[in-house]
Amino acid sequence: MEPKEIQTKLLALLTGVAPDIDPASIEPSKNLRDQFDFDSMDALHFATAVSEAFAIDIAEADYPRLASLEGAQRFVEERLAAR
């Protein structure tokens, strides 16, 4: 999967679990908790969506890697490359 495709998919997943954020306002490098007040339920929703959409397992210990959109991109790229 191309990086651009992963990026687009991640953005759609994020706005899917947080429909109350304006996608244009997302700063990919910024922590979602700081930026959008993500709580543990939001984080779990995002992790669930990423896990299902890319068919990858995400251990609880890896949740911090999904803290920002950029972090999530690197994580997904690594996981897909390792397959």
Binding site: P19, I21, D22, L44, H45, A47, T48, S51, A59, E60
Partner: protein, 386 residues
């Protein structure tokens, strides 16, 4: 028997609401608990659920109208024998998908508008509402995709944003409820630190083999522990009304959830003490999604018998929560942090959770409050009992 259906109060802070959409047209049947109409409040869109199985006879208020709490919205026929719907309005099954264009009837706008809701992001819907653009404008162009704020802005006349107004309305509404609470309820506060280690270890072990979607979060364990303790120790679960405390038999735990555009809401997790953790987790997850989508249900707003408020991982150690009237207690959970903890004669680092209680002195005293907090702590020390 004919009855009027009134706009219910969806919280101590609600004075009025704007009817945004009828979900049931005259002639259609509605079942107990099924949404009848959607109203816009300072807390977002809320589906108003019917109290009884009924048939809609007449709408008394049109979409776009702002009405006070208690105002009649519709006339309903409540009986076992359904009346035949008027010939001009074909009745539709509740879960009917959007009517195809060829089958467009007088009943069609309701279902197509409903589809529009599912496809327009709440931020976009709010913006559309601010701009006075009807949702149907977007429904036709949705074509399977989600309409975002940017799409709405394309159709917007160049005017200043009114987003600040919605935020101010939410603040005013919280202010009203909390001012009432502080004016009427003689609060007392207690706090108690607990070693969250056993619960955390249990949670890690429980979650490890599970798919992400089936995992539990700390807030669910805390809510369940509060609900169980509230069911066991009388005086914290129920309402103070008309000068006396009415204990509730069911425990509907209000979950304080921060709203991103500002403020918070505390809809209820029904029968929280009776549900197993996976079920409670699913309910909690769905509740948060409805809050995020800005579209909740009336039942969950009026049902809470006690509230649990959690600061989350980046919060502070302890909070002093204010009761949500007419409830009589609220339990706070601070951020869980590694802190020095004495175990035997050793000082060790443990994940510490500080629980707090705001309770109504007209109903209980600190002594009973302490028993209540200790009961919650005891349950968290034995998470296998939750």
């Amino acid at each position: 028997m004919q009855v009027e259906f009134h706009l219910p109060s969806l919280g101590a802070d609600m004075e009025s609401a704007t009817l945004t959409e009828w979900l049931k047209n005259p002639g259609e049947r509605v079942r107990h608990g099924e949404p009848l109409a959607t109203v816009e409040t300072t807390k977002g869109l809320i589906d108003i659920e019917a109290y009884d199985d009924a048939q809609v006879l007449e709408h008394l208020v049109q979409p776009g109208t702002k009405v006070p709490v208690g105002a009649p919205l519709a006339r309903l026929e409540i009986s076992g024998a359904p009346q035949a719907p008027p010939p001009s309005v074909p009745s539709q099954p509740p879960a009917a998908p959007a009517a195809p264009a060829a089958a467009a009837t007088t009943a069609a706008p309701a279902s197509s508008a409903k589809t529009a809701h599912a496809r327009i992001s709440p931020a976009a819907r709010r913006r559309a509402h601010e701009l006075g653009l009807p949702l149907e404008t977007f429904a036709r162009s949705a074509a399977g995709g989600i309409i975002h704020v940017a799409d709405v802005e394309k159709l917007a006349p160049p005017v200043a944003s009114a987003q600040g107004d919605a935020r101010a309305a939410m603040r005013a509404s919280i202010g009203m409820a909390m001012a009432r609470s502080k004016r009427e309820i003689p609060h007392y506060y207690l706090s108690h630190a607990v070693d969250f280690g056993p619960a955390r270890d249990w949670l890690i072990g429980h979650n490890a083999p599970l798919a992400v979607k089936d995992r539990l979060i700390e807030a669910v364990l805390i809510t369940k522990a509060v609900a169980l303790a509230a069911a066991r120790i009388e005086g914290f679960n129920g309402y103070f009304r008309d000068g006396r405390f009415e204990s509730a038999s069911a425990v509907h735990a209000g979950a304080a959830i921060a709203v991103r555009s500002g403020g918070l809401v505390a809809p209820a997790l029904l029968d929280a003490n009776q549900k197993d953790l996976p079920t409670l987790m699913r309910d909690f997850s769905a509740l948060v999604m409805r809050v995020r989508a800005g579209h909740m249900r009336s039942g969950e707003f009026t049902a809470a018998t006690i509230t649990v408020t959690s600061l989350g991982a980046d919060g502070v150690d302890v909070l002093f929560p204010i009761i949500n009237p007419p409830q009589v207690a609220i339990v706070g959970a601070g951020a869980i942090r590694e802190q020095p903890w004495v175990q035997g004669s050793q000082c060790v680092a443990r994940p510490v959770l500080t629980l707090s209680l705001g309770a109504d002195h007209r109903v209980t005293d600190g002594r009973l409050g302490a028993r209540f907090l200790r009961a919650i702590a005891e349950l968290l020390a034995h998470p296998e009992l939750l």
